[in-house]
């Protein structure tokens, strides 16, 4: 499977109804410790009404991608160093700050990870909600208030009239996240970005909040980008999933395809490190060994190679582009018929994906060239070349 690599999919194959078209986006942070390569030229699209999941572990660039789309990267360290973000045909990267401000909240809204810290502690919920509404629409105070009451009712906050005068600290975490959702949806945006909206919540509340986001976006036809590190969260909520690793998209497919036939070792690893109720008893969890790469170094080969049991020699030197599993397939980048794309020189077979380990006879992870970190070296069994279970 190390044959000729097909050209990466380009915008020419774009779905015509794309709401958001991110092309070759590069984001870097200049810090005292050096340059952080946070996002390394990723391209993806979101169709109108589509719900896209963005999955990956902490620090893989998923939140940064979305802050970049909103042009909210921390200044002056964070900078968009290349690419374009077309929203409704307008390039957000090259737009005036004043114009971007118009789009924020009105066309693109965001829900943040921690509802405990994303509401201003010194302002009442009413002040914060009417401020959002007033920033984009000329409404009288009474009208804005009425709208806020409607919205709070819509997200399931009991006695919205009364609660409007409360301060954020008088709400529980789940209730605050509902307030955040109400604020984000107050102007009926075309795109909602939810950045790990349930990570900070109790498990019992998580499902309610996810259900709420899902229901409201479906009702209004709002496109959704759901960022999470939890594959279980995206499974029921998204049409399509981008798996990110170290600032790259390593695999993208419709949700169904991804769970049915994961074909990047990292995705396989993610699926196998997640406990599942329906798993047969005694099925072990397989953690992904090692740590994510140091983002200060510009990646040379595949960023996942140091932790990958499927790696070949080429993985250390060439970073594979996103390509269809079957070379030559016509690529569709968004919508229900989106093509399954993987950035891998040696994709796991369906059987291997199911087991979570390479099964091919005689396969051993390629040795790291001098100067490269090998995260698998800590695993004595693999470093010694002893084939994992199943190989004979």
């Amino acid at each position: 499977m190390t044959g000729a690599l097909p050209a990466p999919p380009r915008a020419s194959a774009a779905a015509p109804d794309a709401l958001l078209d991110v092309d070759d986006l590069v984001v870097r942070f200049r810090t005292h410790d050096g340059t952080i390569h946070a996002v390394n030229g990723i391209s993806f699209q979101v169709a109108r009404g589509e719900r896209l999941g963005l999955v990956g572990e902490s620090g893989c660039g998923k939140s940064v991608t979305n802050l970049a789309i909103m042009r909210l990267l921390p200044k002056p360290a964070g900078r968009i160093e290349g690419g374009s973000v077309l929203f409704d045909g307008q390039d957000l990267v090259r737009m005036d700050e004043a114009d971007v401000r118009e789009i924020r909240g009105r066309d693109i809204a965001m829900i943040f990870q921690d509802p405990m810290t994303s509401l201003n502690p010194v302002l009442t919920v009413e002040e914060q909600m009417t401020e959002t509404i007033g920033a984009h629409r000329r409404l009288s105070k009474a009208d804005a208030r009425a709208r806020a009451v409607d919205l709070l009712g819509m997200v399931g906050i009991p006695q919205p009239e009364k609660r409007l005068n409360s301060f954020p600290h008088q709400f529980s975490g789940g209730m605050r996240q509902r307030v955040m959702i109400a604020m984000a949806l107050s102007l009926e945006p075309k795109l909602l970005i939810a950045d790990e909206p349930t990570t900070a919540l109790d498990v019992t509340i998580q499902a309610q909040v996810l259900e709420l986001i899902s229901r409201l976006t479906t009702e209004t036809g709002t496109s959704l980008i759901l960022i999470t590190h939890d594959l279980g969260v995206v499974a029921g909520m998204t049409d399509r999933i981008n798996v990110m690793y170290a600032g790259f998209i390593v695999e993208t497919a419709t949700t169904e395809d991804l769970f049915e036939a994961p074909s990047h070792p990292y995705t396989v690893g993610l699926l196998h490190s997640m406990p599942r109720v329906d798993e047969r008893e005694g099925e072990p969890l397989i953690p992904i060994e090692g740590r994510p790469p140091d983002m200060r170094n510009a990646p040379t080969g595949c960023p996942f190679a140091p932790r990958c049991a499927w790696r070949l020699d080429v993985c250390w030197t060439a970073n594979p582009p996103l390509a269809p599993l079957v070379p030559g397939t016509v690529v569709r980048v968004a919508g229900a018929g989106a093509t399954h794309l993987t950035a891998c020189h040696n994709p796991p077979t369906p059987a291997e994906a199911a087991t979570g380990r390479p099964l091919r006879a005689g396969h051993r992870p390629a040795r790291a060239p001098a100067g490269q970190v090998d995260e698998l070296a800590s695993l004595a069994a693999i470093a010694d070349g002893v084939a994992p279970h199943g190989a004979s």
Binding site: G105, M110, E131, T132, G153, V155, S166, M175
Partner: protein, 299 residues
């Protein structure tokens, strides 16, 4: 606008707590803080002395007969009399007026200057920030009392000069504090959230960042007031206090009494105690405020 399928959350409890605002929470915590309450008592005594001096004081601050000079404490003069036979208790009460007036106005002036500089530096950033912060660095590099002496010496003695000197000395502290808070807040979740819904730069600064950055300033202002009272006395002691040398001022009283430290120790003891009590009062209150307003200590 569909009705919620499920109602969640303990409503009665939420209602009960709804009346409690952010500040009343902090106030409650402050009331439970014993040292802070002791500080409040000291401050009340100090302010009461200043405000009611004309009523409480048995004598005028300047009236005295040389015949009564240097008397030890007695029922007529509970804190004794000074070199000119003036009643020391009365003079200490009137001295509180000078300390309170100069201290409060100077700190307010420092706050205004500091907030302006800090908000510009932290709000705009870039070159403005660099220039303003280097300027405050220059001011901070000069020892506070030395800077105040220099300013008073340059502008000549006077109450306003004294206030200005103290204000210029402390403005950099407020400016740095505010700038630091603003920088930290700029990346805070709710500021990014406010920007994510389209709030403009000025609005974010004045409505979302400033109110949250003010609590450390309030705390610091209380603490600086304590130091300012000591500085006023210090400048008075060095002869840079109020222009009229007869004015009742604690620092000036100490200078006058210096030569009689052994023969009439009460002349040094009482003004000194007045300075200490008022300074400690503001210090304890400042510490208490810090504890009760610190968001990290909440819940």
């Amino acid at each position: 606008m569909t009705a919620p399928a499920t109602t969640v959350g303990p409503t009665p409890l939420a209602e009960r707590r709804a009346s409690r605002g952010l500040w009343s929470d902090a106030f409650r915590r402050l009331l439970r803080n014993k040292p802070a309450m002791f500080g409040v008592v000291c401050i009340v005594v100090f302010i009461g002395a200043a405000v009611f001096a004309p009523i409480i004081a048995p004598y005028g601050p300047l009236e005295g007969e040389l015949a009564n000079r240097l008397q030890p404490p007695s029922p007529e003069h509970i804190m004794g009399t000074d070199l000119q036979g003036r009643d020391q208790f009365s003079r200490i009460l009137y001295g509180a007026q000078v300390s309170l007036q100069v201290g409060v106005i100077a700190v307010l002036m420092a706050l205004v200057m500091g907030i302006l500089i800090g908000a510009l530096a932290g709000g705009i950033g870039g070159k403005v920030d660099a220039v303003l912060m280097r300027s405050t660095d220059v001011l901070l590099s000069i020892p506070g009392i030395l800077l105040a002496i220099g300013i008073v010496a340059w502008l000549e003695r006077g109450l306003w000069q004294l206030m200005l000197a103290i204000a210029v000395t402390y403005a950099p502290i407020f400016a740095r504090l505010l700038r630091g808070s603003l920088l930290a807040l700029r990346e805070s979740d709710y500021v990014v959230a406010a920007r994510s819904v389209g709030a403009g730069g000025n609005r974010v600064l004045t409505r979302h960042m400033m109110p949250n950055a003010l609590t450390p300033l309030i705390v610091q202002a209380t603490l600086v007031l304590a130091t300012a009272i000591i500085d006023i006395a210090g400048l008075g002691f060095l002869g840079l206090g109020p222009p009229d040398p007869r004015t009742a001022e604690w620092g000036t009283m100490l200078t006058d009494a210096r030569r009689f430290l052994q023969t009439a120790p009460w002349l040094v003891f009482f003004p000194g105690a007045a300075i200490v009590i008022s300074a400690i009062g503001f210090n304890l209150l400042g510490d208490g405020l810090r504890e009760s307003l610190d968001p990290r200590l909440k819940r």
